[in-house]
Symmetry: D2
Subunit: 138 residues, 4 copies
């Protein structure tokens, strides 16, 4: 498994009138975790886009166990649990609060697109992840 | 099945640099659909909160089929497919673009909370939904 | 003066833990007012962009008199008070609550850009606004 | 002058279809700068709120010189230029990109509120700022 951690300080803007982080804002927190997980591998999502590769989200699931609050320091633990194959990649996320309690868990599935069409997972992604994950037999 | 439709005009603020509605923004669109679905039933979510009942989100799932763009007029079709029982309620959502094509589908599960503790679905909610849905045998 | 009104229903997502609409969210509400004010004139901002004209914001000022709350129906009154000249246009905004009380006032200044460079206000904008505003002597 | 710097990595969620950081998002970036500027002084905005003191925004002004882009590392330089007196405080903000170019400048004015009413600037705020700023003669 490949895993990486990103720290997020909750903004007032991200809370709602219940005092909780609004449930939709975790999508941006997970994006942050995903981008940093790729960067820690040596992959820049910005550069991938500049080279014409995009990673739109195909699905997003999240289960909320506990709320987060203004000024909390959250840890987003982002993992790739299996080597991507075909044209897709899956990310798993866990949000931990300052007491290291898991307050929610989620996952996203993404397609690799080039010129608007699905393309095979780029070799560089396979190579970087290959240090941590076993390549699937073809 | 109880179903209701809400119209949303996509704001520039809601797009990202791909030109798509950012994937996390559908959480707010679905909230809008949910609040309007309750209002069409004669239930005000604001009043429920003022009476001490809250409906935090326990889970959120969404599958994206096609993107939406700036200035698009989207229809959020919100449904309650089965009578809520116990302390929870499920909502289903479908987003349609101007060509009436379904561009994504999702669902949320909510707990009814009062004073921070789960409580039975309020009778008024059961009664209003009872016009459209069969009550589950106890 | 040219003036137009747009209605916005406040989303839960747009509130903060004070229970107020977060101060930064009025930027998106004013964008909505601006886009609808142009549409009411017969001008589509989306089409302008598709023709290569962009209107980035150069400045934004807002004074807050009263808060807005979840589920409030707000009226954004957007005005163009003087005929744009040179490469810029100014919009004024007033947000009214359900009691028709002005809860904030703001303004934005925008440049007309084409290919990344400032260009003269398009003739079609001058013509449409000319019905309401006196053209400035050159 | 009291001054403090906060680093922000631009999220995809914060860009718009022009590829720029949406103009309204700087309100949240400045909030982040403000909260960190207070924290660096030894003041927790969260604790202030828990003690019943709130700091709603009375006005917000910003001038945009250049855009920011996805994945940019921005520096928010937050300053208090004069000792607050009466019931208000002013913050100034400068956003710098990775080349240390100022891409926008803004300011916010806030009221100190307790129980919904304006109150004098708390003594602890005066004391902490007094290390950097001269107290106004009464």
């Amino acid at each position: 498994m490949y895993s990486s951690e990103t720290i997020i300080r909750v903004r007032y803007a991200e809370t709602d009138r219940m005092g909780y982080v609004y449930y939709g804002n975790y999508a941006a927190f997970f994006e942050s975790g995903r981008v940093e997980a790729l960067r820690a591998l040596g992959l820049s999502y910005r550069e991938m886009e500049e080279q014409g590769i995009m990673l739109p989200v195909l699905s997003f699931n999240i289960k909320y166990y506990k709320p987060a609050f203004f000024d909390d320091i959250l840890t987003i633990r982002t993992s790739v649990k299996e080597m991507p194959s075909g044209t897709r990649i899956h990310f798993h996320y866990e949000t931990l609060n300052e007491k290291k309690v898991t307050i929610n868990e989620g996952e996203t599935t993404h397609a690799f697109l080039s010129g608007g069409r699905p393309v095979a997972v780029p070799q560089v992604v396979i190579d970087k992840l290959g240090v941590f994950l076993v390549k699937k037999p073809q």
